[in-house]
Symmetry: C2
């Protein structure tokens, strides 16, 4: 059973004392790098035992972990990538200083050597050299059956069309295979995968330490069944299925196998679907599953190993804190290595004797520390100043509101305006994302404040951001509450937050606005059309309007398809809800968005047009799914103006 967290985070406030300090400009709010806490680099190198490398003001130094004494050092060597270029359907390698093409397909629908499955399932690249560098495994996908979508580049003389392949919900998807190029005989073989359907996912490719075997976590297109399979790397022959997973909702393999250095027969396997949390299992190649290694009611992520210990990050202290632990492989006993509340990111030294820690908490901008992995030694080496010191920042409060189903505490950050007076009434801006694999609020510096929120608070708005069911680091039940009904329980939870806000006399309930992008754009329009009496103004960016227009990998995981979840697809579609819209709604979208196609928002406003529903819109002609860089200042000024004009 889950250990209940009893830690209540009282409203921790960063108090604004000097009223004459500066307000943020929009440019500072969006672009300033000065407002990010300073960082301090710690790089572990085999060449300097008991030291870490650090780039100081006078160049690279090796710093003694325990004493802090410094000696000058060479810059750490960057490994030259052996595989030089990957361009669409050609993989090139360097052999004896010469470039050599491994594959060359004339069919443009065959894409080789780059990421597949739209980077879901932990996939981020397409080339996988074997540990002994004699073999190169690579992804290959056939997009012949995938629909093309046109995007228009308006910056050329006459405008230029370019097409993208976009596998859309319920429609034919890409077909993935894994090839292996033998650098010695220059032959290619393909792994002989026969599980499930031809649109299966081949995820988390892992080489055995001896370079003889390749492991794949093979998933059916419906994402309900996973086979962890072993294949011979030189013949491609299927060897065995080491373990399987099944869920009536979904399984989501996201991590490779981590073989034990101390025993190449054994590996660490990360499951998302057992025991209610993402935990580590110790398995063996010869005998399948051995045992659950981390038995905590919290999500766990592998961080390294040394000798008889495996290291992992987890949120077992609190859903909003992340710490480093080590677990004794044999006994299962665990030990927390990080000190100080907050959100820790750690890195193990190459010999496993040390770790570095880079963390912050609500009021701590950044601390960098080094310690020994036995937990006995821990030394702070850097503490960043508060970069917002010169600015009149409003208090940021971190707290919880009970979820709508009464089962969970949902964490929020709340920013009250400058010179907050509880006897006055203030307009509210709800900033929302709400989608899976996100966590907007945690106990890190300023609780992950987006500086625009502070800009708005400085102009008299109360800003509220809260994670809802479906988001990260709360376990499987919490995440899968959204399955086949995206938006439904997310909205219920957000409305629990709004109801809680309304219990305060300083909230002007007639002036509540909402803003979000992508999944948050979907949430914004869902909230505007489901609770039209609550939300006066909304700004939605790059919104999903109907999951039937979203891609296969992410979309079908949560929303199924036209066969398995026609009702859910229809009931969550915002097309049918457009006519409920009463408040002022501005939709923004990148005109060359290749994640949420323009199809979505254009069809929504078209529905508004047909029904004579007022709605506002603004396209960013050169922007893809997000508006980045300098253009983002224009975007956020537009968002701000909309609230200023109408809220």
């Amino acid at each position: 059973m889950r250990k209940l967290l009893t830690l209540i985070l009282a409203a921790v406030a960063i108090t604004a004392t000097a009223e004459n300090r500066r307000l943020l400009t929009m440019e500072e709010a969006i672009l300033s790098r000065e407002l990010i806490p300073d960082n301090y680099s710690v790089i572990w190198s085999e060449s300097h035992p008991d030291h870490y490398l650090h780039k100081g003001e006078n160049g690279w130094v090796a710093v003694d972990v325990r004493t802090g004494s410094e000696q000058s050092a060479e810059a750490p060597a960057k490994a030259k990538p052996q595989f030089k270029t990957v361009e669409n359907n050609i993989v090139r390698i360097m052999e004896d200083g010469k470039e050599h093409p491994v594959t060359r397909y004339t069919n443009k629908n065959i894409v080789v050597g780059s990421s597949v499955s739209r980077n879901e399932f932990g996939i981020s690249g397409g080339l996988f050299p074997s540990p002994d560098n004699t073999l190169l495994a690579f992804y290959q996908k056939d997009e012949s059956y995938v629909s093309s979508f046109p995007l228009l580049d308006v910056t050329t003389r006459t405008g230029t069309l370019f097409e993208i392949k976009y596998p859309m919900n319920s429609m034919p998807s890409e077909r993935v295979s894994v090839g292996v190029y033998n650098l010695l005989n220059r032959q290619i073989i393909y792994l002989k995968v026969s599980d499930f359907d031809c649109e299966r996912y081949l995820t988390n490719l892992t080489w055995s330490p001896d370079s003889k075997t390749i492991y794949l976590q093979v998933l059916d297109r419906a994402q309900q069944n996973m086979h962890l399979n072993a294949y011979c790397a030189t013949t491609g022959k299927f060897i065995a299925t080491l373990l399987t997973e099944h869920s009536d909702k979904y399984v989501e393999p996201s991590f490779p196998l981590y073989f034990l250095e101390s025993d190449p027969d054994k590996f660490i396997y990360t499951t998302s679907n057992r025991d209610g949390y993402q935990n580590l299992y110790l398995c063996s190649v010869s005998g399948g599953e051995v045992k659950r290694l981390t038995a905590v009611d919290a999500d766990v992520e592998y961080a390294g190993q040394s000798g008889k210990f495996v290291y992992y990050h987890s949120t077992e202290v609190s859903p909003v804190e992340r710490h480093l632990f080590r677990v004794d492989i044999k006994s299962g006993k665990s030990l927390q290595l990080t000190r100080g509340e907050g959100w820790h990111n750690c890195s193990l030294s190459t010999d496993g004797k040390y770790f570095s820690d880079n963390y912050s908490s609500l009021s701590v901008p950044r601390v960098v520390a080094v310690g020994t992995t036995d937990g006995k030694f821990y030394r702070e080496v850097f503490r960043a100043a508060d970069p917002s010191e010169g600015y009149n920042y409003c208090p940021i409060e971190l707290g919880t509101v009970r979820s709508a189903d009464g089962k969970y505490d949902n964490y929020y950050r709340l920013i009250k305006p400058i010179d907050f007076d509880p006897n006055k009434k203030y307009p509210i801006i709800l900033y929302v994302y709400g989608g899976p694999h996100s966590q907007m609020v945690n106990n890190s510096f300023q609780a992950q404040l987006r500086r625009w929120e502070m800009y708005m608070a400085q102009r008299g708005y109360v800003v509220f951001v809260m994670d809802n069911r479906g988001t990260d680091n709360r376990g499987l039940e919490f995440e899968q509450a959204i399955h086949h009904r995206c938006g439904v329980c997310e909205m219920e939870d957000q409305m629990a937050g709004i109801d809680w806000l309304k219990t305060h006399s300083w909230v002007d309930s007639s002036r509540i606005g909402v803003h979000g992008w992508s999944y948050g754009g979907f949430m914004t329009i869902s909230l505007m059309t489901t609770y039209p009496e609550t939300f006066k103004v909304g700004v939605a960016g790059g919104p999903v309007i109907d999951w039937k227009w979203y891609e296969v990998m992410y979309g079908e995981r949560y929303m199924g398809n036209q066969s398995t979840n026609a009702e859910g697809l229809a009931s969550t579609s915002l097309i049918g809800k457009a006519k409920n819209l009463k408040g002022k709604l501005l939709i923004c979208q990148g005109a060359v968005d290749d994640v949420v196609l323009w199809q979505h928002s254009l069809n929504f406003i078209d529905e508004c047009i047909k029904n004579w529903i007022p709605v506002d819109y603004f396209p960013y002609p050169r922007a893809q799914h997000n508006v980045r860089g300098k253009d983002r200042v224009h975007l956020m000024q537009k968002v701000t103006d909309y609230f200023e004009d109408y809220l």
Copy 2:
């Protein structure tokens, strides 16, 4: 020398008397057919001499022109088109009740039998049967060299791309030829045209009465030289050039030849480029030009002929009035046939003895009359009631403001708000079009009021609409003032109107808005960026932003190309002026606009984004160059809301 018009139209007002009458709803303002004056049909038929056919409440009747006595009649026969279908590159004809393909091209870039040159130069169709019905002349265009532009239909499951051919300024254009299909021997020949460049225009195709000769008014791509050529219809051989025209600005042939029934050697030719006005010339096939037939300082349009008379409409009484005249071919003496001030549209009976007249004036909704072409008999047969009688319409004033160069009186209509009080101050909305071949203001019913203007006046706005230099019915110098500098003198004239308005104490000079579509969208943004201190709010629809993105035929006529007018193209471009924008600007555009490509407005807002200039935008996903039908209510509500929110 031009006869100066001395008629001054005093502010003729339709006075609102009953304050409790209705205001327009937006739906009525945009869609209501009830608010258009009733019409009365007069159809001339050879089968009923001295009568006209009319569809009354009890069916068709033949009405005695002089007495008005009625007898029942058959519905007028509709001629069956001999040439049944034209689909892209296939022309089909009916022969002996069977369908027969004349042409069949597999190359989709060859388009046969439909209009060419984007309907400029009076072109509206692509099939031209000979008078004796033995030959069929047809247009053919080769678009191989013309750029394609993608448009996106978002209403299909995955969105569908369709491409249009769009010949863009300074880029390769279509190549037009004229074919002749012989219905007897089923052979096709092509007219052998060799004048000028391969991108010449073949305009105003006219058959000789004996079906042996085809006349073309051939124009070079630069539109500075025109050859009126004769070709043998059976061999395609060039016969002769009958006359030529040249202008350093442009010539614009827009009318076919009208052969005299009394003498097939002679024809009426309409010139736009001689004598400063569009007038009729009597020419002969054998001997070239004969003489100028209409010698008036006003634009003239051929309306028919009978015996020794030619009939024409002209604006010689006033630029805002149109009347029917006849001219004696021999003596050149002319006689006005229409009675009553206003804008007359007339139609001659088949035997030329009678004419019908359908006219209105500022306060006359519609009158239909019939008369004899000797001018002696004229009888009113219908007078429409004022359809806005039940509505509280504000006064509409018709008047003139001197053009900025002091040479012309520019006509305006001005609508003052309900309960107008000269001691109060009112916001102004300037509605503008301003482009060539338009005339927004004339002495027709309610001075061509667009009912949305009345809707706005009923809500407290002063609405002002004025024609500027460049527009129709004012002669060549007035029209060509814009040559190579589109927008420049048009803006000067509009500002003269604004300055005149500002002389009135009831004008709130701090609240001036501007709205226009297409050329008027170009004018709106030009005004907003050239006079940023004058205009507080603007709404531009489907705006031309840079003439380099506009099409060849219309665009190069006025703006030349990158070789001949690089400076003018650059200086009129709104891209460079975006950073001058200070007021609130909303741009609307149809997302599948095939006249002003999306390129224009997207590049403008992109320039605003780059310069952090606030700007608003709204696309109509299914709309082409105009937003029509029911969707137009949404559009005009949006335009209205924008003025209501910000002006």
